[in-house]
């Protein structure tokens, strides 16, 4: 392991003498860089997808959790007592963060689709809606329902549980799906970078033979190739990541303008990913090239 660290140091400091023995370009090099760039592009896309899916899932879960309402139906004169009893129950329920009794105007807005704008709200025996905002832990809907039955029989809890469950499951699936894509892409990246390193090295078998014959140590040979190929992978990955970020920004802007894909994009600390990806690629290329070079060397004395 010590020599690997020494080698990484050498990689950063640079040893042009060793680097010059590696043929500079050729189509295998282009193929390597292009494949790496493509993989990095996909990689950054997949990361953003996974992060966005996570965000979407979180938002769904939050908004669904928020949307519990309690409906109090009572005749006009008993309404005030019924609402007060309900509020008492809600205020003493674990997991309920805050409650809000909707004003008449708010209620009217909600009912416009059903009764038209000219509805006579005042004359209608409208029920009273109470919005329940749970804490992050959430409350137990069955427990609350039972308590309301006992202490405020006019109140009905509507926690939207019926249609909430499949949506939450869908969000979880979405997260799983992105993780699946992410690992698929990770495997592909590893395979492509490894294969590219092997292909490039086996195209250089003659070079390695010549170097070894004129007295080069394994260290020297490995370093020369590792340096070149690692830099190639980093450059390819950087190009891919930049292209990826441009594409993501375009998409997310276009999406925002259309009120769509609003959660798509990089935010806050996640901006570190584009920096990390090329380094990961470099590290991958480093070990793949090193292993391939040493394997080729082992066939020679």
């Amino acid at each position: 392991m010590k020599s690997i660290f020494a080698e990484i140091r050498g990689l950063l400091i640079g040893d042009t003498r060793a680097a010059m023995v590696v043929p500079p370009t050729g189509f295998t090099a282009y193929l390597t860089i292009f494949s790496t760039a493509t993989m990095a592009f996909l990689g950054i896309f997949a990361v953003v997808m996974a992060l966005s899916a996570g965000r979407v899932a979180d938002r769904w879960a939050q908004e669904l959790a928020k949307s519990a309402t309690v409906l109090v139906t009572a005749s006009q004169d008993q309404m005030q007592d019924a609402v007060a009893a309900t509020v008492r129950v809600l205020e003493t329920t674990a997991g309920v963060g805050s409650i809000r009794v909707l004003s008449d105007d708010e209620q009217r807005d909600l009912l416009v689709p059903w009764f038209g704008p000219d509805m006579p709200v005042d004359v209608l025996p409208l029920p009273q809606l109470i919005e329940v905002i749970p804490t992050s832990d959430g409350f137990d809907p069955e427990g609350l329902r039972l308590r309301l039955q006992g202490e405020a029989p006019d109140a009905i809890l509507d926690d939207h549980g019926r249609w909430q469950k499949p949506l939450i499951r869908a969000a979880q699936r979405l997260r799983l799906f992105s993780l699946f894509c992410l690992s698929l892409i990770a495997i592909t990246i590893i395979a492509v970078v490894t294969l590219a390193a092997k292909a490039a090295l086996s195209a250089n078998a003659k070079t390695i033979h010549v170097l070894r014959l004129v007295g080069a140590t394994d260290e020297f040979v490995a370093k020369a190739f590792v340096r070149r190929f690692t830099l190639r992978a980093i450059v390819g990955a950087a190009v891919g990541v930049i292209m990826g970020i441009i594409a993501i920004m375009l998409l997310s802007n276009a999406g925002k303008a259309a009120g769509f894909l609003t959660d798509f994009g990089l935010m806050g600390i996640n901006w570190l990913w584009p920096l990390i990806l090329p380094l990961l690629f470099g590290l991958l290329a480093f070990f793949a090239t090193r292993a391939a070079a040493l394997r080729l060397l082992r066939e020679l004395t």
């Binding site: 043929p23 004129v214 007295g215 140590t217 004395t301």
Partner: protein, 232 residues
Amino acid sequence: MNATIERDQNVIELQAASYSYGHTALLSDMSFSIEPGSFHFLTGPSGAGKSTLLKLLYAELLPSEGTVSLFGQSVDQMSRDQIAFLRRRIGLVHQNCDFLDHLSMTENICLPLTVAGQSARDDLDQLLAWVGLTHRADALPPQLSGGERQRAALARALIQAPEVVLADEPTGNIDWEMSQRLLTLLIELNKMGTTVLIATHDLNLIRLAKSEIAVRVLRIKDRQVQFAGSDL
């Protein structure tokens, strides 16, 4: 790295060494030694195993049986790095001289210095002039003629002022005049203490060398290495 060798120690020593590519032995039970400062030729018909023997002496191949010792150390017991350092003391001309095609001839000739982390020699121009490559110094290997490549290979073998020179048919593609010139160079180096071993089928070359200095001729026959007499 013991850079100096004892006066009496043999540079190359084989004890009951044999080598086989597959099942049947190509070279078997070879025992001979080469003293420092000596000048040897190696002959034998095409396919006899001359190149194979030279590869054994350069640790490119390891003996199937027996021991091959270089500078007093058995190649079997050397680490890979030790073999690399050993090669810096030996100049090699391969039969099919391979170069790095993307480097100029000068860079190729200086490659042994590059991999050893040394800077170019002052007398590089002199060496290039001697092998007649001054005007091709910046050419790439594929742009050289067969003979020019062979001369470049010899220059690469000599660039590090090695203690031993192993040359496999170094004049196969070179005209007689230039061959004489190269032989003269090797004889001069030998007089200054370099051990020389040349595999060749050019009997004229051996005769010429014999007329100048004391040389010994090794011959591969029936899978064995023999010292040839004066019956050339």
